[in-house]
Symmetry: C2
Subunit: 406 residues, 2 copies
């Protein structure tokens, strides 16, 4: 007798047949004696269709109205899902984000959840109903419809799980869980059974986009354990939860890679207070998203500063970077694409030395030159040639023995 | 400086181009200095598409969920319409039925409006916005989405016009207004400038389906004048309002016809109290919808009772009518299709005699045999052969001089 939140994304509810599959899964969970809250996204393709419609009536659709429009996508899915469950002999009711008590800020198209008062959810659960809640949406205190931005349905599921104190939150998706590395690159990559929030966050920020970081951060903040699993089979997925001693015994949890990166080096940057700040303030003002920043110690009153960014960001740099380099009296600006990032992630890293040594050694022996190094408490990231990224991933995966069950 | 409610049906908002046309019309009204509330239906075809989806997940969709599903249709239109107005430099906001303060009974798929608290509508009007309200929908006191059934968007418009005390309520549709008769049948039929609620009700119940009767009754009850006009041109339409002395000066307002009728006669019905009741109670229990009922005086302890009904209703009669005829000891049951009803409508009829005489005379001279006659205070209806209905309509239209401007 547990209380379980199940979230199904757009692909999992992509057509009537798949909606009936979801209904069957919900019924099975109910029949096993559990209470169920289901969070669904819009059917795949629906949101894009609505955006297209909006563009046909307005080149720059009002954001408030965009939310009213897009919210119909999830509203359609909740009604259909509840109908499907009822048609199979179950008991289900649909609830919009507003009806489920999701109160948000008033920033349309990217609202933040401000409060959640799940009275209706509790009332229907007590009545033996499965509650089918529209993901991605809420309403302001004044009663206006808002949406939560990308990955918003995951956020809804985590938030509801927190509010109703669910025993488990299952995030159904089109992958089996989180892997030690991308199985298309490393054939013996293994599904991870349990991972800590921070590890998933580092994996996510390094390109393993199982979930948006904000949902993971929200789950971490409210200590909501969740499981990432496939809606197309019954395999157990990956449980994401708080750190524990057991989790720390594994030094490296997984390896993630990010392709299509670029690096920029500004040479002979004068070593004065505030110089770095002037560079990155100018870049932020130009809306350039920066990833890794590396600055070494100054040896003769000046130093080189390097940073990486997505290859697509490179053009936004435009004249900004040259202007600011000239203003601060630096040397030249060297831009280079064709690089990639490999990150080794694990909370056990904190209490173990030697991870960096193992990584650098295996890459060196394999002929992979390291161009930049950046570390956090639970991650070591290296920047290398993009051509070598798959080779490097396989080297590192083997060096840390990730193919073996932990 | 008037407050105007404008209602646009599904055809008028059937695609992005038409939605932009609606936006232009709203802007023109605003630019003329008026405040505007716009009520819109779902884009034509959308509701049918949603019903089809529902049928694919459930043979008998839950009515509560059907309302949640169908309400997305109007929600889509309000967002697109508001966007279109904003894109043209206007100021508009969308409001769902619930947000507009429409409180209904809890009878899903055919809820009745119980209350209307248009706080938000007033607030946005005061702020200079056009309010774009979703027709056809509301919410219960508990906050659950309901829909108002067929013709629900007209009802929304009339109800809002009443609640905000609008100066005018314009019902935009795909016809130019209410005609003295169907112009496809009577080429010199004329658009009626002004008509009384009761006249339109009699016309509507006699087959001129410009609007559902319930919306007209609602308008009559709350004394909301409205205008039926075309969304495809700028012609003035037909104003529907309370009776007035001016209106009574015209004896006959219009002629409406209803085809595909059938009549049933039960012969030799014993002339006892309660006999008619037993017949029509049995028919009501079988959900047979009856139109005209005629019973003449009894001459020898028994009488003949006749009634008409839609041709499609005939099969529902099935064995019910034979059984009840036997039970009451009546003679035979004679069923006959292929008939039609012609109604002459006008509130001036009350104070003028001779209307019946004129009608019967013109039909008789034209060779049209009258099979049944039924009258109300403001209507004379005759049942004739369906083959003769167009001929009869032209005869009556000419006999009452309806081609002339009143």
């Amino acid at each position: 007798m547990a209380l379980i939140v199940q979230k199904f994304g757009g692909t999992s509810v992509g057509n009537p047949e798949r909606i009936r599959n979801v209904a069957r899964r919900v019924l099975e969970t109910q029949n096993a004696g559990h209470s169920v809250v289901v969070v669904v996204s819009a059917m795949s393709g629906v949101t894009d269709g609505l955006i297209k419609l909006a563009k046909e009536v307005s080149p720059h659709p009002t954001e408030r109205e965009m939310d009213v429009l897009l919210a119909t996508g999830e509203q359609t899915t909740i009604a259909l899902t509840a109908m499907a469950i009822n048609a199979m002999g179950g008991k289900a009711v649909s609830l919009t984000g507003a009806q489920a008590g999701i109160i948000t800020s008033g920033v349309h198209t990217k609202a933040k959840i401000a409060n959640l008062e799940p009275h209706e959810v509790r009332r229907f659960l007590d009545g033996g109903f499965a509650c089918i809640v529209a993901g991605f949406q809420g309403q302001t205190e004044e009663g206006f419809i808002t949406t939560l931005g990308r990955g918003g349905s995951d956020l809804t599921a985590i938030a509801i799980a927190a509010a109703v104190q669910a025993d488990l939150c299952e995030i159904y998706t089109d992958v089996d869980g989180v892997y030690t590395c991308d199985p298309r690159i490393v054939p013996d990559a293994r599904k991870i059974d349990v991972i800590a929030y921070d590890e998933l966050l580092e994996m996510a920020s390094s390109g393993s986009k199982v979930m948006q970081s904000r949902s993971v951060e929200f789950a971490k903040k409210f200590r909501v354990p969740f499981e990432v699993r496939s809606s197309f089979n019954s395999n157990r997925g990956t449980i994401v939860k708080e750190e524990s001693i057991g989790l720390e015994n594994v030094v490296v949890r997984g390896i993630s890679i990010e392709r299509r990166q670029a690096k920029v080096t500004i040479t002979r940057v004068p070593d004065n207070p505030g110089t770095a700040s002037r560079i990155f303030t100018a870049l932020a003002a130009a809306h350039v998203i920066i990833d890794v920043i590396v600055q070494n110690v100054s040896v003769s009153g000046s130093t080189d500063i390097s940073f990486t960014l997505g290859a697509d960001e490179l053009e936004k740099l435009g004249p900004v970077i040259d202007r600011v380099a000239a203003e601060i009296g630096a040397g030249e600006v060297i831009k280079k694409g064709g690089i990639a990032k490999l990150s080794v992630v694990g909370i056990g890293m904190r209490s173990h030395s030697g991870v960096a040594a193992t990584l650098f050694e295996c890459l060196g022996n394999g002929g992979v030159n390291i161009q930049m190094i950046s570390t956090s408490e639970i991650k070591i990231a290296v920047i290398i040639d993009e051509d070598l990224i798959e080779h490097a991933a396989r080297l590192a995966h083997a060096a840390f023995g990730l193919e073996k069950s932990s």
